[in-house]
Symmetry: C2
Subunit: 486 residues, 2 copies
């Protein structure tokens, strides 16, 4: 940011004199104890805690809405469906407590009847509720995947959630991809297929993209202070991270947080520059400048890199953000007069080797109308469709749904989707992931404050990173850091 | 970039009316056929070709100097030493031709006498010029590394230089780290040590950071249209990429390119925003706005990501730049009254397991005065010192030099260094490298134009990516693209 740019931005009066309107309430000269960048769950939670502690706060949000990676869309029935983060499950205490405080109840994700297993063009049904849990109808593959999951859980138990790079085997594990691990520990097509599918469903990345150490850390973090992380919890509906949904949609949580913060939240205010000065920070957005004592940056790491910083960030933090990319995902929801698959004894869940939608859920809202099928298009499949038109995605996805649930799926009453890779304020979802070498080379920089700059966002959480619970936890932690420092 | 920002930037008259000086010759309203972003070798070469073709061009450079990753520093004798890209070798035709045209001659890198092998605190000498080339005094390790190099060359021969993701085994090779490959193909400590050292010397990254496919592509690209790539060429002095240096320093090349371009090159002009509009492009820098028909972005991929684009870039290009990080390197040069090691029959080159400076060169300038030892601090060693003070780096490096070349090394007449990770307009060196999954997921986006935006820089070259030759090649290619489109 040059002196010119700074003067142009800071010269509110001059800009007005030149005939440019000073936007809204974010006029030059706004100040607060803390400025929070990003009105997702992490930023809003931090702002709430800071405000509750009696400190003044301003939240600058690039989009014209709050919620970040939480996004609701109306179904035309008064209810909403989730096009971003959606589920909540056991051990996700922080998001559960927040939702309860805000009066947003949960309900069970529909998980009754059979699942669909679709491989090599063959469709099979299997029970969602066997005594050993759902077992895909490929016994060899399922056993192999089951053994792999146990081994991964054992290795994950050796990974400190707050410092994965300190695990005894950190160097070995961060030096290989998860693909390499799968090739060594699963020999059958079925086992490898299931492990790859689970990887894509969790990370929206391919096993080749991911560090083994990062996968183990993510598993270790899928729990809380009382319950160690567990890969089964990550992939399960009943008993796992997909067990519950929010009545009215998850977007009600950030909306209520934002409503309580009122005009402390400024929309349409992408931040371009942060200066740390002797007395505080100066944050320059497209909607004006805010000065504060501290700043919480609560946006994904690759986007935090696109803010300019003065003084420049330490190399460790800068290089971290050069190699901490977002997953690739498109989420689609097709709606139907009713959830026709339920009458056929189907849970609406499929695992498939045929893209683009290889994993599906029954996304019908709480009151049962309309029926909704949700599909995840992930990693290579998402990348292949990032430049495709919506009609093609709709056509290909509905064909998947028909293969899994019958020809009625071809005739939806509605079809909506979110294309996170194309969304310029997320540029991917659900979470930034670590390729090999990131945690060993840069791990501490994920969370370590830089002077008056604090980092929040689900990527910075020590539990449930990648989930709404992690975002809320990170907001609490960042607020604690800031309040201690003020 | 908001409407406000745009209007503030574009409103040159308004800004002046408000008392803000319009900087230099880059006033609002500057236009040209082409604007080039970055005055490194790639950008300057492109600008030269465009200008020679009779088209108007403006080069916007963020720094107050030209050269990018080419950087000369005075030695106090009238001569210069290189703190960035330095060497040139066989098959690097394009940089050779350019230097010849500009009247910058080359000379042989000093490579006479013995090399030093320093392991586990033991110093050994070995010949730099045996009949089989230099063979480190660890026969088992040297043989193992030699066999590995042959195998890597064979695999590299299967990689198309312009599309590594189309190699028959691309999926297998891009799914593993180079570390995994080394573990499988070298069993001795010595072999693994030499392969890791070579990796660090080439990429300033650890084997764990790198995709095997990327390493193979880099080897394949270490040649030209007539001579296939060769790993031996990458690591060798005589006969390899370190064979020659430029009289007066490599910085003379960008300096002469810039001098010929005159006031077409604007310094202190970091670019913040590129708009593609129906009639052309609009490029907004801290030193004003330039409109043009086409733009060539000739900065490293992670820094290209920090420009804002309207319309937004396709997801493939954006996500590419989230995972194409720079290597980590500090380059140090200690000067002495004379190159005392030469009298002792030493070439000034060491390979060592003791950091921070594990690889050294005789960096004495053409006229032999002063003596200069150069050390590379790379990857983990660089990261460990990125936040250290210069005194510590000096102390630790001189200790290395003394271990390799004798106690005289402790008493230099001068000590200079470049800390590329901390340099905000490079944020690492020598080149952006690919972790696993990048080439398969995003390879074509490295070079593919986006509307009126063209990409240059050594990362985009199909030969000698990572080298000055690759930068020059990329500048030629980008200029051809632009000139065809105009």
């Amino acid at each position: 940011m040059s002196a010119l740019t700074r003067r142009l931005f800071l010269g509110g009066a001059a800009a007005t004199a030149a005939g440019v309107a000073t936007p809204g309430s974010a006029a030059a000269g706004t100040s607060a104890d803390v400025v929070v960048i990003g009105a997702g769950l992490a930023g809003l939670t931090a702002a709430r805690e800071i405000s509750r502690a009696g400190r003044s706060v301003v939240v600058l949000e690039a989009r014209d809405r709050v919620g970040g990676r939480v996004l609701g869309r109306p179904l035309g029935t008064g209810d909403f469906t989730e096009l971003g983060a959606e589920f909540i499950g056991p051990t996700q205490d922080r998001i559960a407590a927040l939702a309860a405080e805000l009066g947003v109840p949960t309900y069970r994700t529909y998980d009754t009847g059979d699942y669909i297993y679709y491989r090599n063009g063959q469709r099979s049904r299997y029970s969602s509720s066997g005594p050993l849990g759902p077992i895909p109808p490929d016994p060899t593959g399922a056993i192999e995947a089951g053994i792999a999951i146990q081994l991964l859980n054992q290795q994950a138990a050796e990974v400190p959630v707050d410092a994965p790079w300190r695990a005894e085997n950190a160097e070995e594990w961060d030096s290989q991809t998860f693909h390499t691990w799968i090739q060594q520990h699963a020999q059958t097509d079925g086992g490898r297929f299931l492990l790859r599918l689970a990887t894509r469903a969790i990370f929206s990345a391919e096993p080749r993209d991911l560090s083994l150490l990062y996968v183990l850390a993510y598993i270790a973090q899928a729990g809380n202070e009382d319950h160690p992380g567990d890969l089964t919890r990550l992939v399960s509906t009943t008993g796992g991270a997909q067990m519950y949904r929010f009545v009215g949609g998850s977007q009600r949580i950030p909306e209520r947080l934002a409503a309580a913060l009122g005009d402390r939240v400024r929309l349409g205010a992408p931040v371009r520059h942060i200066s740390q000065e002797p007395g505080g920070v100066r944050v320059i957005s497209d909607a004006g400048t805010v000065t504060a004592q501290r700043v919480v940056v609560a946006v994904p790491p690759p986007l935090a890199a696109r803010i300019s910083y003065d003084p420049a960030l330490p190399a460790a933090r800068d290089q971290l953000t050069q190699r901490f990319p977002m997953g690739s995902v498109i989420k689609v929801v097709a709606t139907y007069r009713r959830p026709f698959w339920r009458a056929d004894g189907l849970a609406g869940q499929a695992v498939s080797d045929t893209g683009p939608a290889q994993v599906t859920f029954d996304n019908t809202p709480h009151d049962g109308v309309p029926g909704a099928l949700m599909g995840f298009i992930e990693a290579d499949d998402a990348r292949a469709l990032d430049a495709a038109d919506t009609a093609r995605i709709r056509r290909e996805t509905l064909r998947n749904f028909a293969d899994y649930f019958g020809p009625q799926a071809l005739d939806p009453t509605g079809f909506i989707l979110s294309r996170w890779d194309n969304d310029i304020w997320s540029r991917g979802c659900p979470v930034a992931f670590a390729p090999p070498g990131l945690l060993l080379g840069y791990g501490p920089a994920i969370r370590e404050p830089v002077g008056r700059i604090h980092w929040a966002g689900t990527e910075t959480s020590t539990y449930w990173t990648g989930y709404m619970d992690g975002a809320v936890r990170s907001g609490h932690r960042a607020a604690r850091e800031v309040l201690t420092a003020l």
